[in-house]
Structures are given as structure tokens and as C-alpha cells.
């Protein structure tokens, strides 16, 4: 199927990506059009699957057929690892990860 600018914008929004704009600056129309066209072309290619004889075929989501191995319910705490993980944060307040206020 063909993708128009609104479709592409909706997808970009769902994916939390900008669409051609940089750092909040509105996209250059030519650049935007090129991105939408490219995306549309890629999606259109996928339509080749319309020809696949999938009637009644069970989807295959993973080649793994073994059952899920359950883990024993035994706790483990690694304080040093927790600190290292926290240390990766771009912004912190005390022991919290910090982001701009939500509401």
C-alpha cells in the first residue's frame, strides 16, 4: 500500500521518532517528501506477500519449540550492580532516574 505524509507522521509518533525535523525544527518539505516516499516504497515492496499461499497456515513466531524453562523463586540482590546501573543515568535526583515533569 502507499503511505502518505499523515500515515508516516502517525507511525513516527508511535515510534517516538522525529520525521525529518531536527531538534524540534520543522522538516524541510523536500526532505520530508523524500522520507515519506522512501518509506512508502519500502512498504509497497512488502505487498509481494499478498501472493503467498498462507490460507489456513499457522503463523510461526519463533523457531524455538522447547517449552519455557521456569526459574526457581529465589531472590538475589546485587547492590553494586544496582549502583552501576543507576550510574548510567543521563540525569538523576538522589537514587531516582529523572525526566521532565509529566503532568
Amino acid at each position: 500500500m502507499a503511505i502518505n505524509e499523515n500515515d508516516a507522521r502517525a507511525v513516527a509518533n508511535l515510534a517516538r521518532l522525529e520525521l525529518g525535523e531536527t531538534a524540534g525544527q520543522v522538516a524541510d518539505p523536500a526532505r520530508l517528501k523524500a522520507l515519506v516516499d522512501e518509506f512508502s516504497k519500502i512498504v509497497a515492496y512488502m505487498d509481494i506477500l499478498n501472493g503467498a499461499p498462507t490460507e489456513g497456515v499457522e503463523p510461526l513466531y519463533s523457531p524455538m519449540t522447547d517449552p519455557l524453562p521456569p526459574r526457581a523463586d529465589e531472590p538475589a540482590r546485587d547492590g553494586q550492580k544496582a549502583d552501576e546501573l543507576l550510574g548510567q543515568a543521563p540525569e538523576r535526583v538522589g537514587r531516582y532516574f529523572s525526566v521532565p515533569r509529566i503532568f
Binding site: L14, Y61, R71, D73, E74, F103
Partner: protein, 473 residues
């Protein structure tokens, strides 16, 4: 118009570790201490399924009459939020671990069956705290990855009272089965409520409002009440009800729309490729079934069958550990009704007041059974029991020894009572004569005299019987 109500209940499973990693689930830790690479969504980390969570979810399903699926599948529910480290929640879409099932509630017009749609497993998100001063939102991931079951009912409830009854009964059941700790103040048992209105008797459904995240029975009841009123008013004014997600403000007793999101939710569910299907084998199911205490219904029927009063049964079933305590006491003295009466009158209030879990009561099941036995034999009277119990509860003493030590045993030996009765009759010949001439009320006077003579230690019932016999002589 008739309200139509459905519930989605989230119960935190009673596991030691998170759903997909070995981090502890216990609340109260410093922020971001119970975290690892898995529950913080580090590059390369993969989930490891907690087997206990599977068992607890299946157990809930068995208790609620659901079909436990031999194979169920996890999916990813994709959305962005700072408390969601992977950018997706791992939840079950199709098929869930349990399908169908039901639970009965009591209504003024008799029992009513509330059907369940499904029970599924999922992981919880972390917590956001809003820091007003800094204008930041702070994220704590200690809760991220905590195992939950979501229990979804069919829209079979028609009033806030029914909904609250259902929630209380479900809560009691899941706590008794140890599926959840159910600490509501910790958010371990919370629900979303869907409310709509339709003309009474109509099969169609109205547009519904969904009230999110209610963490007390009372709030759930109030939120439903308010929402019914709000929608009734809209219908009366001829205004449409919008399908929306609402937040209940307990301070104002009203529901308010949550701030609308930038775009409609599109969660892009797809099968979680990092987790093969969950298998519940018939053997596992049998093991869970065997380890499971009787259902609430079975327990209640059993207790009623032993002659317990209905209000006592309700009381015992509402208190964690009470039924088990009764069972244990019965093993020492098989008089469930008597023991239950003592529990209702003395033990439960004392435990509540002292904030002691019933199984940890200083009065052991054996000692309570002994007390019941002493009372039945007439060794200890009701008044004496009232006096004895607080001491038993405080000290954990053996009832018979304590009663003797405190001089609270009754004279119930027939010979002793007959001797006393003969003395009383001899010293009150006029009253004895009157009794023999048909003035039966004189007997209570004579019993009083006997009690006084024994300094209150005689068993009143035995004293009456002894006097009647002495008067015949």
C-alpha cells in the same frame, strides 16, 4: 436505566522475586535498589520466567473454576512511559493462562453468579514520583517487573454494592489461597472499573467510562456510585456519554477524565519472542489442586454443616487464619460450634485489638479447645470464662490450671451439689413446703441460697437439678 459494571482486578502475586528476574519484590526498599539488568531494560538483557508465578496464577484459576490452559503465550504491549524500562509491558493476550470461571455473590434477591472472562499474567511498571520543586518526574524501578495477575470479569455486576461484595470476596479468597498478600495500601490488590448504563432489561451495552487504579473497596464503591450518577445525569440531559478513561478523586468523591493522550493508544501487541509458550502440565495442575485448601464455598458449607451460625461462619471466613485455627482446635475437642462461639466472642476481638495474626494467638488452639471443654463440663462458667480469657491471652496459660489457681472452677460434682442442696432445704423448711405445694418459682430463691452458700462456685444449672432432687426426698 440499569448500571452494568465489569471489573479488571490486578493482584500482585505472592512471590519472592520479580516475574522475569531474581530481584526481590518486597516493598519498602530504597529507590532503585531492587533492580538489575533485566528489570531496567539494559541492552542484551533477557527475561527469565518465575515458575512460582505460573503456579499461583493457575491456582487462582482452579479456585475460580477457570479453564487453565495447557499452553499460554506472552505478548509485548508496546508504549512509551518513563516507568516502563523496556518500552513494552510483557503481558498475555491470546491465549491467557486461564479462561472463564465464575464466583457467586449474595444479593438481596439471592445468590448471583459473576462470570469471569479471563485471568492473565503480566509484569508491573515502576513508579513515578512528581518532584514539584524541581519540576521533574522521578522514576523508581523497584516495582518494575513485579508479577501480577489480571482478573477480568464479564459485565455481570449491576450495583456498587455488588461490585464491592465481589471485590471483598475475591480478595479474601486470593489471600486465603496465598496467591497474593493483598496489602491494598501497597497497591497489591487494585482494580479498574467499567461502568455503563442501559435501559433495564435491554441486552445492549451503553458507552462506558473506565475508572482506573482503585486501591480500596470503599473507593471502588464510591467511584461506581459517582459514575452512575454522572452518566444518569448526562442521559437525563440528553447528552452523550463519552468512552473515556477516568481517574477517581477520593477527596472530592468524583471521577475526572485522565488527561487525554496525544494519540489514541495503539499497543502493537505481538508474541514476545524472548519467551517460549508457558506450559502447565496436567501433573503440575494436579499438584496445585492437591495443595489447595477447600474453596470458600466448600469451607462455608462444611462449617454450617457443623452447626455454626451463619454470622459466625462469615466472621471466621473474613479473618485470615481463623478457619485453620478452628480446625486445629477441633482436633483436641471435637465441638466446632462451641469453639467457634468462643472464637467469635473472645479470640477474634482480642487478636484484632492486639494486632496479632490469629495463627500466632497466645491462646493456642489446644487451650481454647480445653476452655470449651471445661465450660461444657460445667467446670468453668460463662462469667468465669470472661474473667479467664484476658489472662489466658496475656500469659498463654493452661486454662484448667489457671481456673483452679484463681478459684474460678465451678462445683458441678453431683454429690457435692446434692449435699449443698440438702443443707439448703433443711435450713429453709417453709420455702421447701411451699415448693412442694406447687409454688415452683420458689426454686430460684433456693438456687440463690445454694449459690450464696457455695460462694458462687456452684454450677447454676446443676444446682437447680440437685435442689429438685433434694426437695423430692
Amino acid at each position: 436505566m440499569e448500571p452494568v459494571i465489569g471489573l479488571e482486578i490486578h493482584a500482585q502475586l505472592k512471590t519472592k522475586t520479580k516475574l522475569f528476574c531474581p530481584c526481590p519484590t518486597e516493598p519498602g526498599a530504597e529507590p532503585n535498589t531492587n533492580i538489575c539488568e533485566v528489570c531496567t531494560g539494559q541492552p542484551g538483557a533477557l527475561p527469565r520466567m518465575n515458575g512460582k508465578a505460573i503456579e499461583l496464577a493457575a491456582k487462582a484459576g482452579l479456585a475460580l473454576g477457570s479453564k487453565v490452559n495447557g499452553q499460554s503465550l506472552f505478548s509485548r504491549k508496546n508504549y512509551f512511559y518513563p516507568d516502563l524500562p523496556n518500552g513494552f509491558q510483557t503481558s498475555q493476550l491470546d491465549p491467557p493462562i486461564c479462561q472463564g470461571g465464575s464466583m457467586d455473590i449474595e444479593t438481596p434477591s439471592g445468590p448471583k453468579t459473576i462470570r469471569l472472562n479471563r485471568i492473565h499474567l503480566e509484569d508491573d511498571a515502576g513508579k513515578c514520583v512528581h518532584d514539584e520543586k524541581r519540576g521533574r518526574t522521578l522514576v523508581d524501578l523497584n516495582r518494575a517487573g513485579t508479577p501480577l495477575i489480571e482478573i477480568v470479569t464479564e459485565p455481570d455486576l449491576n450495583s456498587s454494592a455488588e461490585a464491592m461484595d465481589f471485590l471483598k470476596k475475591l480478595h479474601a479468597l486470593l489471600v486465603r489461597l496465598e496467591v497474593t498478600e493483598g496489602r491494598m495500601e501497597e497497591g497489591e490488590f487494585r482494580c479498574d472499573v467499567n461502568v455503563s448504563l442501559r435501559p433495564k432489561g435491554s441486552p445492549t451495552m451503553g458507552v462506558r467510562g473506565e475508572i482506573k487504579n482503585l486501591n480500596s473497596f470503599r473507593y471502588a464503591g464510591q467511584a461506581i456510585e459517582y459514575e452512575i450518577k454522572r452518566q444518569t445525569a448526562l442521559y437525563a440531559q440528553g447528552q452523550p456519554v463519552l468512552q473515556e478513561t477516568l481517574h477517581f478523586d477520593p477527596a472530592r468523591h468524583e471521577t475526572r477524565p485522565l488527561r487525554s493522550k496525544e494519540e489514541a493508544h495503539d499497543y502493537r501487541y505481538f508474541p514476545q519472542p524472548d519467551l517460549p509458550p508457558v506450559r502447565v502440565s496436567p501433573e503440575l495442575l494436579e499438584r496445585i489442586g492437591l495443595s489447595m485448601p477447600a474453596t470458600a464455598e466448600e469451607t462455608a458449607q462444611n462449617l454450617l454443616g457443623q452447626g455454626l451460625r451463619e454470622d459466625v461462619v462469615t466472621l471466621l471466613m473474613d479473618r485470615k487464619g481463623a478457619v485453620g485455627y478452628l480446625e486445629e482446635a477441633r482436633a483436641h475437642y471435637d465441638q466446632a460450634k462451641k469453639i467457634a462461639a468462643l472464637m467469635a466472642e473472645f479470640l477474634l476481638p482480642a487478636c484484632q485489638k492486639a494486632d496479632v495474626p490469629i495463627p500466632d494467638s497466645p491462646v493456642t488452639p489446644r487451650n481454647l479447645a480445653k476452655l470449651a471443654e471445661l465450660m461444657d463440663k460445667g467446670v468453668v462458667g460463662r462469667r468465669a470464662a470472661q474473667e479467664l480469657f484476658p489472662i489466658l491471652f496475656r500469659t498463654g496459660a493452661e486454662p484448667e490450671a489457671l481456673a483452679r489457681e484463681k478459684g474460678l472452677t465451678q462445683i458441678s460434682d453431683k454429690g457435692a451439689l446434692l449435699a449443698l442442696a440438702a443443707e439448703v432445704v433443711a435450713s429453709h423448711p417453709k420455702e421447701a413446703e411451699n415448693y412442694r405445694n406447687g409454688q415452683e418459682k420458689v426454686l430460684s430463691f433456693l438456687v440463690g441460697q445454694l449459690m450464696r452458700k457455695s460462694r458462687g462456685a456452684a454450677d447454676p444449672k446443676g444446682a437447680g437439678e440437685a435442689l429438685i432432687e433434694a426437695l423430692k426426698a
